[in-house]
Assembly symmetry: C2
Homo-oligomer: 248 residues x 2
């Protein structure tokens, strides 16, 4: 908690790694300038909670680097992850002042934040921000609905395969890996976090990963390093036969 601020990483928007994907993606130079004036960076260590559901939230922002999760918890402790926040993803909602979900940094995270009030005011005069935010929100809605199918109708094995294919796809899109050839990536989540995402127990996650490995769908090195020799095979296992459709 103590060094949260000391690790802040100020940058110039010009070389921001998420410049072309975040809420600011469509902004012109002058609009970017306005945003620049109200922005500030915050850093979080792996495991730190960014905000608790129900807490007052006086900022919105984008994940610049690292990975965070959005989770809901019931009184008896059952938890469900409802979103995975990757670089460029937006956190918070204009027009609401309490966080709806717990936001937890899964790895070290840097966020580019804006105080909510000024941001909301800026949005009124800057259609490019509102447009981009609408686009991103529609994408998130699609992703959430995709996930409803996974949660409601897929088997444990299919769920794991679905998660792996999503992570693999996103990873490839970040690294600009070209198609074909084995995909290699690291799991950014613990077995428990995967279970929370998939509506399973961590034991079942572990068993199904072992099964996929045994069946040659994936290769494992250590606990987290994954190689997918045949992506189409993985997609089949996910029940998403052919035509991947959506892009990350």
């Amino acid at each position: 908690m103590l060094d949260e601020e000391t690790k802040a990483v100020p940058r110039d928007c010009g070389d921001c790694p998420i410049r072309h994907r975040a809420v600011c993606a469509r902004c012109e130079a002058d609009e970017l300038e306005s945003l620049d004036q109200i922005k500030y960076y915050r850093s979080f260590e792996a495991g730190q909670t960014v905000i608790w559901a129900g807490d007052k939230m006086d900022f919105v922002g984008s994940v610049v680097s690292g990975i965070a999760t959005l989770t809901q918890t019931m009184e008896d402790g059952r938890t469900q992850m409802v979103g995975l926040l990757l670089p460029s993803d937006f956190v918070g909602r204009p027009g609401r002042d309490e966080a709806a979900y717990d936001v937890v940094a899964t790895s070290d995270v840097v966020m580019c934040c804006f105080r909510k009030k000024p941001f909301e005011e800026l949005m009124v005069h800057t259609p490019h921000i509102a447009q981009r935010l609408l686009e991103m929100t529609l994408d998130e809605l699609d992703a959430a609905r995709e996930w409803m199918l996974v949660l409601g109708r897929k088997t444990a094995r299919e769920k794991i395969a679905s998660l792996l294919s999503i992570i693999a796809r996103r990873d490839a899109s970040l690294k600009l890996t070209k198609a074909a050839g084995p995909l290699v990536f690291d799991l950014p989540l613990t077995r428990e976090a995967m279970a929370d995402y998939l509506g399973l127990t961590l034991e079942t996650v572990s068993r199904q990963i072992s099964a996929l490995k045994r069946d040659g769908v994936i290769q494992l090195e250590g606990k987290r390093h994954i190689t997918v020799p045949d992506f189409d095979r993985l997609m089949e296992e996910a029940g998403d036969d052919n035509d991947g459709g959506m892009l990350a």
Copy 2:
């Protein structure tokens, strides 16, 4: 299919029942006028498919009356409902030209449609539309995430209770029923449609409804007419103990 057009129900925006809740909610008189010029009504009978996933979709629109569902289907036939469309809900996505989901009219439905192209052009000059659409999309995203918790972590009984409480709440907000006193409403869905929403089989839905009835949580008259004597009790059964939070 034949009388789809003959049943169209043209109206004046002034007395439109969804005037203050739909995408046009924030529009001024002149903006409404522009919308008025590109709008047209379409009617669908109960059971009719409004559009199939993957079909070209050259319009967007709002549900004026009736209820429709948004569903995804896997190749092997498993289906998951990903949205329930009630009056004022928006269908379609600006900037995409294929439907992402099957849209099916559950009851007779009237929709207020706009051809996509003109609507998109209008949106550029009409921030009130884009603002409202963003707000509605954020609400839908919240609802989808709420539903992920239901699908991922709740028991069959809790799922049924959750669905009933959502329908009851929406129904009450439409009818402006004041709080307290038993809630009475009709289920707008078959057991099978409920099962598709909840990630269950229709047999399990039937059994759990019988169980809730046996336990006095609800009363049933016929197959569809429901009375909820104690809403708090229903909320408890849904696992959403106290503080209902979200509003319809």
